[in-house]
Amino acid sequence: MILGFDPKLIEIVLLSVRVSLTAVVIASALGLPLGAAIAVGRFPGRQALIVLLNALMGLPPVVAGLVVYLMLSRAGPLGDFGILFTPAAMVVAQTILILPIVAALSRQVIEDAWQEYREQLRSLGAGPLTAALTLLWDTRFSLVTIVLAGFGRAAAEVGAVIIVGGNIDGVTRVMTTAIALETSKGDLPLALGLGVILLSLVLALNAGAYWVKEAAQRRYG
């Protein structure tokens, strides 16, 4: 299955990448602005929100999966969408898992930059919105690492996607759930082989991102 680059295997790998990339794009689109807003904004409950986000970074995937399952179940409040046991449900679960990571870490990075440049930005007459956008741009290289951490978490977790996806052959089977299944069947060499593929994939993506970041930093300082 592995050496022959079986079409089934390629399908599983592509689904993994598609689901986790979608989740990381959505989580970043929401989490980065959220992190920036908390970093530069001053509002009641801010500290509680920071603590909450930091704590949610450790949200157990299986709990996230269970909550999403109960929401999307036909008997649940969002059951009419009928998206339980589809890749969309897996995207929702993974987004919930990595949103706190992206928001909490970017909040920290941007707040540190804010401490450094606050006076400068103020003297230029920048309001909170301009300041937040400027800082998001200024810290973009650090933010890439954060987004990668989010992707790594999404691609590596099994607890949430196996509950909301159901590990359906050809529909919601991804790398991690396939590994869990092969382990169950006692086919440990195949499970390990799939694990190596998953690791190589994450490694390749990180190497690519690192290279892009280095090249960009050299060019734009």
Binding site: T22, R74, A75, G76, T95, L181, S184, K185, G186, L188
Partner: protein, 275 residues
């Protein structure tokens, strides 16, 4: 406001994936790990899909969980193996009718060193008593699956109240059949397994079948359409088409045709009284 944002995100995600989700006509079947992990579905479903164009999406869980999933309305058909639990499911109004599909048997697996001296026996109750007597490691599924329910019933018949009498030799793993076999294999313990999963299981180590052939080890599978009255969105026509096919001569032939190493895993018995 926040709800609207959440709703929009959800719609966005659904659109993004709609090309994969809604392109086909499909039904969702809640079934057991034994039918999925033994490879049966991979063998028979393509035949049905080719004939009808209906894709069958199988979610493999323990029987107890599979029935719960159907109770919440998340499946169109259940295909499981615990007759009394299935009959309760129907009696509660969640399912229309239980139809027998096939059977195989449970086998008692254990290490070749056999500390409880049960190898070759035909009496499963005697074997369980000996395991308890020797306090030999025994791995239980502990997950309300069909196999777990069968195991508990056998302890009861053997006159042992396992809940009260279990010692540290009795390992409650709360896992699927495969993981339970993996655990038994690594600790050289005894474990009750369905023959299908055992035949397709690869990490056997020192394990072998020690007791088989007792009438009480009979393991029967049934299929039920989830009640469209309880859950409006149940795809009753396609679900019924699947059930009709599984119990038809065609479907029964496909089931009988699934073999591993020349050994037949499941024996069709649709239409038999009392099965």
């Amino acid at each position: 406001m926040r709800q609207r944002i959440f709703r929009n995100i959800l719609i966005f995600i659904v659109l993004l994936h709609s090309f994969s989700a809604s392109a086909q006509r499909f039904i969702t079947v809640a079934s057991t790990t034994s039918t999925e992990q033994s490879g049966l579905f991979r063998h028979i479903l393509p035949v049905f899909e080719k004939k009808t164009g209906i894709q069958v999406r199988v979610v493999a869980l323990g029987t107890g969980q599979a029935l719960d999933m159907a109770r919440r309305g998340d499946a169109d058909v259940v295909f499981v193996h615990a007759k009394s639990a299935e009959e309760r499911f129907v009696a509660e109004g969640y399912g229309l009718k239980r139809l027998p599909v096939m059977y195989n048997d449970f086998v008692l697996i254990g290490p070749k060193s056999d500390p409880a001296k049960i190898a070759g026996g035909k009496d499963i109750l005697e074997a369980l008593r000996k395991i308890k007597g020797a306090a030999a490691p025994f791995v239980s599924r502990g997950d309300r699956s069909g196999t777990h329910m069968a195991e508990l019933a056998l302890w009861k018949q053997s006159g042992i109240e396992i809940d009260k009498e279990k010692g540290s030799w009795y390992r409650d793993t709360g896992q699927g059949m495969g993981p339970a076999l993996n655990t038994a294999s690594s600790m050289n313990g005894y474990v009750l397994a369905d023959r299908g999963t055992w035949l397709s299981f690869k990490n056997r180590g020192d394990l072998a079948i020690l007791v088989e052939g007792d009438q009480r080890l009979f393991n029967r599978y049934g299929v039920i359409l989830v009640s469209p009255e309880k859950h409006k969105h149940v795809k009753k026509d396609m679900g019924q088409a699947f059930i009709d096919w599984v119990v038809s001569p065609d479907g029964q032939k496909a089931i009988a045709g699934y073999k591993i190493g020349g050994e037949q895993l499941f024996f069709p018995n649709a239409g038999q009284e009392g099965a």
